[in-house]
């Protein structure tokens, strides 16, 4: 094994992969900082798994390059990259005990027996599975198998850890537990994690940085808060959390705000500086359901809108309503239960209000 001299950045430059006429990954460039927890997020078929497989070395890019620090690894076979990987479904070796599964990467690296013994024990210790050392994978629960896969992927101190939807096979509660555990592990070992998922909640809660993919392209990347608060496109706004899209035509500029119209309504949105669209142009504003509140009729506010409730659902901590409006059709609203006052009723008409800063201008597509 090449001794990892600290962990280095992973530089992905313009990689592309076609399967026949299908472009699975299209000109993706991305730098993964050492020690960071990066999530590749996208719907199925967005190319996130193909990108991960190219990083791991199982798929060869048609174009572009992948480098670890200064070292080119684009065409290096997987076994010479020293990347740990946790597969979807774990891919534990069914005929080997937990100990031998975890020892495998060390055995193929011809480590002395005593060192193997010691490192496997400490890796199993890390995931709290020392007691199950002699069991076979099929004798373990799903969560335990997942932890064996993790221990196996980390025992040889890889340059980075690749995780392909590692929690997708688990039930919701166990998932939440393991998310916590993964985060804790990440902080503890300081290893670079590249994590693939289609679950936006998982991505938001775990990552230092999220890269959102769609149709093989990298749409936007940044910290979870950045992406949530400043999505660049309607797709990102809708994929990371839910959004309403308010579409209209810019009527005037008023101070820091623009005024746009849709149907019979006029609305204000804070957009200043270079991103400000010219008067007369079409714009799309993403508005999170939780940024809308129910206000008494006639309230003075930047934006108000009346409508009738067509649907409502109780979620314990919040009500989620769908309100039918003249200007924007159906608008989703989320109100904390303790704030709602009266339980809403289908057919009830009410007034919605939101601030000029509440929305975010997004590009269509």
């Amino acid at each position: 094994m090449s001794v990892s001299e600290g962990h280095r950045n992973l530089n992905i430059t313009g990689v592309e992969k076609r399967f026949g006429s299908f472009k699975a990954v299209d000109n993706v460039s991305l730098t993964v900082e050492r020690g960071e927890f990066l999530t590749l997020l996208g719907p199925s078929g967005s190319g996130k798994t193909t990108l991960l497989m190219m990083i791991a070395g199982f798929v060869q890019p048609d174009k572009g390059s992948i480098a670890l620090g200064a070292e080119q690894i684009t065409h290096l076979p997987p076994e010479r990259r020293d990347f740990g990987m946790v597969f979807q479904g774990y891919a534990l070796f069914p005929h080997l005990s937990v100990f031998d599964n975890v020892a495998f990467p060390l055995k193929v690296r011809k480590k002395p027996r005593a060192e193997i013994e010691e490192r496997v024990r400490s890796a199993l210790d890390l995931v709290q599975l020392t007691a199950q050392m002699d069991r076979l994978p099929r004798q373990l629960s799903g969560g335990q198998q997942q932890r064996v896969a993790l221990a196996r992927a980390m025992v040889f101190t890889p340059h980075l850890l690749l995780l392909d939807e590692p929690l997708s096979a688990l039930d919701k509660k166990l998932r939440a537990e393991l998310q916590e555990e993964l985060k804790r592990l990440h902080r503890k070992v300081g290893l670079t994690f590249i994590y693939v998922t289609h679950d936006q909640d998982e991505a938001l809660s775990m990552s230092d940085r999220i890269a959102i993919m769609r149709d093989g392209q990298l749409i936007q990347h940044g910290s979870p808060a950045e992406l949530y608060e400043n999505p660049s496109t309607a797709f990102v706004a809708d994929f990371l959390g839910k959004s309403n899209f308010l579409r209209g035509r810019v009527e005037t500029h008023a101070g820091d705000d623009i005024v746009f119209t849709s149907g019979r309504g006029r609305f204000r949105q804070r957009i200043s500086g270079a991103k400000r669209p010219p008067v007369g142009s079409e714009i799309a504003i993403a508005l999170r359901p939780e940024k809308i509140s129910i206000v008494p009729p006639g309230t003075e506010m930047a934006n108000t809108l009346t409508g009738t409730v067509t649907e409502w659902n109780y979620f314990g901590s919040e009500f989620r309503l769908v309100v039918s409006t003249q200007s924007f059709g159906s608008v989703a609203v989320a109100i904390p239960t303790w704030k709602s006052g009266v339980p809403p009723e289908i057919g009830q008409s009410l007034t919605l209000g939101w601030d000029a800063q509440a929305g975010m201008q997004v590009a269509e597509s």
Binding site: E79, L92, F93, V108, R152
Partner: protein, 293 residues
């Protein structure tokens, strides 16, 4: 007349209704009867004859310890069966490995190649080998004209010929269990092994090969048991010089009319196969191996 039949049938029918189990027994009765008459009875007779002909006692069985010709024949049978099984396994493993890794389109054609020989009579296949293996056959002629050999190789009327023919016959029985097992091996395990630092051969040797062993064990029992009792191919390609147990039994019964010796050897064959299956069933799940789920 009809009334008479009806009344006669009634108590019987009522009895059937009151005992559902009897009904099931009756349904299987024809099959059970068939087995008893055409299978259990003749085998019982064979066992009986082996200890009664020419006179009651175990004289026939002492021949196993005393007769040099029988010992030589049994040794030949064991040697040829073991070698055939080994060669078949190696070839079957390679073919199965190629099969599971082939694209679906190529796989269809390969399967056809595996299965078609099963449809051709074993006699026809043995005679086809004549054409290839004879002294003036295709292989010898080709090698001679190419100048690779000076004198024709003796490829038949000996153990080599017998083994070529037998391996050819046994291949599908080796390939199918091994292929079935390999198909169920999770390919991600191999990818995982590579990702964890194993070179392609190491990933095969440490992961794929151990996982494919149950199929290999299954195939080896199947092929070995078939080989032990093989008759047509050794008789034809061995040319009477390579005597295996099945042909020896035939000669004893049909030519020298020593029913006692023939049936004793048949009994031995049955016992050996029974013991083999019993031993192997402790290691692998036979029902699963032969497709009973």
């Amino acid at each position: 007349m009809t009334a008479l039949v009806e009344t006669a049938r009634l108590p019987f029918a009522r009895r059937l209704r009151s005992h559902p189990a009897t009904r099931y027994w009756l349904m299987t009765a024809p099959a059970v009867l068939l087995m008893l008459v055409f299978y259990v009875y003749p085998i019982g007779r064979v066992l009986w004859m082996s200890i009664t002909i020419p006179e009651p006692g175990l004289d026939n069985y002492t021949l196993l310890a005393t007769s040099a010709s029988i010992q030589k024949m049994l040794w030949t049978t064991a040697r040829i069966s073991i070698l055939t099984t080994l060669v078949t396994l190696v070839l079957a493993y390679i073919v199965s490995y190629a099969l599971v890794h082939a694209t679906p389109h190529v796989q269809r054609w390969m399967f056809l190649g595996v299965v078609i020989p099963l449809w051709i009579s074993v006699l026809v296949r043995a005679f086809s080998w004549f054409i290839l293996l004879r002294r003036e056959g295709l292989i010898n002629t080709a090698l001679l004209t190419a100048g690779i050999i000076d004198t024709p190789l003796s490829l038949m009327w000996n153990e080599v010929g017998v083994m070529i023919g037998m391996v050819h016959f046994m291949l599908p029985f080796g390939i199918l269990p091994i292929y079935a097992n390999m198909r169920d091996i999770d390919r991600r395990c191999i990818a995982a092994a590579r990702g964890l630092g194993a070179r392609p051969f190491e990933a095969f040797w440490r992961i794929f090969f151990p996982l494919s062993l149950p199929g290999v064990v299954g195939a080896s029992i199947l092929v070995f048991i078939f080989s032990l009792g093989f008759f047509v191919t050794p008789a034809l390609l061995g040319g009477g010089k390579t005597l295996m147990v099945a042909e020896y039994i035939k000669v004893q019964i049909l030519e020298v009319v020593r029913w006692g010796v023939g049936t004793m050897l048949a009994t031995m064959l049955l016992v050996v196969i029974g013991v083999l299956l019993a031993v192997v069933s402790r290691v692998v799940n036979l029902r699963k191996l032969f497709g009973a789920g």
